[in-house]
Subunit: 394 residues, 2 copies
């Protein structure tokens, strides 16, 4: 079966070495970046940062976008703005990239790990509701963890590999248990839940433009919100809280140097212009890949949840439970062959720094973790096999 899987991947990606996800620069990247260099506006002031924020807001439908240095910084500030205090608990999926938990820790708060839904790969709202009913109580409008006696302040869905979580279910929980919803949409630029862009359902949402993401700014992220005051606060907190003045350097709170530099935003503006085409290529790659696996028993291709449109950031194979023992052989064989694949992240509750954090039963996340394999997902696989740039046109 391992050899069947390697052959199926080769039938899609060809016989060369292939990485998990490479950026694709076929638009105005050079032109915009060169304009930064020619005008010397490469740093925190410049027209591309402002434009990138406007373009992101327009694309996602959020009222405001604030561009920052990366997705971790975006989530750190979003959590602070959502009211996270030192000592609070924040509900995050155990199945996520470490940045989700780190951003909570950077607020001096504690991540509290919750289980996943096999259908969405995101937080399971039914299981979470039962857990919160059994383990928390409401006190003065706050959700209190009965065991630790701490305030559970925020619920952070993460849209795994670009697939939207069950936002209706999670919004209802946030409402019923007095939790603030903050979406970690680092992986889901271009993913929609019932026609609305992910990252725009919570009080705040966050994006990432790291080099392995659907579009990249080198390093970068953004905070999305529909609240103008939160947008103003996000901008202020990410730019050292400097008060506007012709020459005086006065700052009115402890803040951060998190602003995205103009040269990175220039890349982002060019990338965003090509997003429709990149998403089309990734969707096409999903179709081709799924078909290549259709006759292999014991394995399924992860597809977008019902009612959702996924960006298919990472193409994902899910082994049946009775084939999970093959995961490491598949990873070994593919990587040795020059096909870069990877498993889901080690669950957060299994990492040394987060081992003692509160957690619900995580049996589904544990099962998923033993069965998921990400396959090469670069849009260039489709674009280059087509021998044209057709798929990149908007």
């Amino acid at each position: 079966m391992v050899q069947e899987i390697v052959s199926a991947i080769r039938s899609v990606v060809g016989n060369e070495r292939v990485s998990l996800h490479e950026p694709s620069f076929h638009g105005n990247e050079w032109q915009y970046v060169k304009e930064c260099l020619d005008t010397t506006f490469v740093s925190s002031v410049g027209k591309f940062v402002d434009r990138f924020e406007r373009d992101l807001a327009e694309y996602t439908g959020a009222s405001h976008a604030v561009a920052v240095v990366n997705g971790t910084a975006a989530l750190h500030i979003a959590l602070k703005l959502a009211g996270v205090q030192p000592g609070d608990e924040v509900l995050v999926p155990a199945l996520t990239f470490v940045a989700t938990a780190n951003a909570v820790a950077h607020c001096a708060a504690t991540p509290h790990f919750v289980d996943s839904d096999e259908r969405t790969l995101g937080i399971d709202p039914l299981k979470l509701r039962e857990y919160l009913e059994a383990t928390t109580e409401q006190c003065d409008g706050f959700c209190i963890n009965r065991i630790t006696q701490k305030v559970i302040r925020v619920l952070v869905p993460m849209h795994t590999f670009g697939h939207p979580s069950d936002l209706d279910g999670l919004m209802a929980i946030a409402h019923d248990f007095n939790l603030v919803l903050v979406e970690d949409a680092a992986e889901s630029l271009g993913s929609y839940y019932q026609g609305r862009h992910t990252g725009t359902f919570g009080l705040l949402g966050t994006l990432s433009f790291n080099g392995n993401k659907t579009i990249t700014t080198g390093g970068g992220g953004a905070i999305l919100t529909n609240d103008p005051e939160l947008a103003r606060r996000a901008n202020h907190l990410t730019t050292t809280a400097k008060l506007p003045h012709a020459w005086e350097y006065r700052h009115d709170e402890i803040a951060y140097n998190y602003r995205m530099p103009n040269i990175n935003a220039a890349l982002g503006c060019a990338q965003l212009e090509q997003l429709y085409g990149l998403l089309e290529a990734k969707r096409k790659l999903f179709d081709v890949s799924r078909k290549a696996f259709v006759n292999i028993d014991g394995v399924n291709f992860v597809s977008e949840p019902e009612g959702c449109r996924s960006n298919y950031w990472l193409q994902t194979l899910m082994l049946d439970e009775d084939h999970s023992y093959l995961r490491d052989s598949i990873l070994q064989s593919t990587n040795e062959e020059g096909i870069m694949t990877r498993p889901a992240w080690v669950l957060m509750n299994e990492l040394k720094p987060y081992r003692d954090c509160p957690a619900m039963d995580l049996s589904v996340a544990e099962s998923l973790c033993s069965r998921l394999i990400n396959l090469p997902s670069s849009p260039k696989i489709i674009i280059e096999s087509k021998g044209s740039k057709l798929y990149l046109s908007v």
Copy 2:
């Protein structure tokens, strides 16, 4: 006198609008950045990040340099590596940019503000020694603040406007009072104290490559150290503490996403190649500027301290005490005329978030703050007035 000063500045900078500090791109910036785009290595992996670190180490004489997203992030990590714990106090000058104090706050520690020396614009070691003798005690090898009973863990000299602090005096204090020395060399790339580069005297030192600095990477910073284990830890903590593995995502401590992206490092490599020429231009600008002010009473031009070679990052005017009342008129007139000038930063102990932090008598810093004015300092002022790129050659 205000008009005399405006005229003196005009005699140096010409009659156009002139900013405080603009980057100067006359080398391989475009070539290196284009190489990033062509190879798609724009993010956290790539040859320019490694090269920039090697080049910085070679230039400064530090054994190791670790490139990060900005100077604040560099100081944050350096302080953590120096052992700063939540609740500790860290000695920082009141006369500094807010990032110095913010990095302390980001460690959940408290900045403790100390006074400046008019000769260096940095921390005054004689005054600091008297203060520490009067207000601290040694207990089990730690320096304890007698009033707050907290550990004073680290001493952070900042080399104001590029002028080296009295490092001999400060190293002696660190030694005698059991303090770790961490240098905030954000402003002093290219500045030397007794022939040795600033940022290499403490256990760790930090640099900044923000858009207004001597060289820029858009946004960027670096940690310098001679200790290989601290360098390894700095690298680990700034790259999410991920353990090396072909595919597994396992992280062994709470860490940060602070790595400098390759596209920003590409800019840095090109800029560093031109540093000698940029420093030569800035030194020339100092000579020309100082001469323009030589016949104006009541004002002096700040020059490098004895035994030091300064990068002259910002050219600085110092009003005599009996002329300090003119500071705001000078700032007003120059900025209205399109000559960007600025005062020293509002002292840290006067900012709302740091108002209640411990502080010694700050009378010299207060006096300096009322008398310092930074003048336009871009190397291009010299380079363009020469009509050639001569000053940029290494």
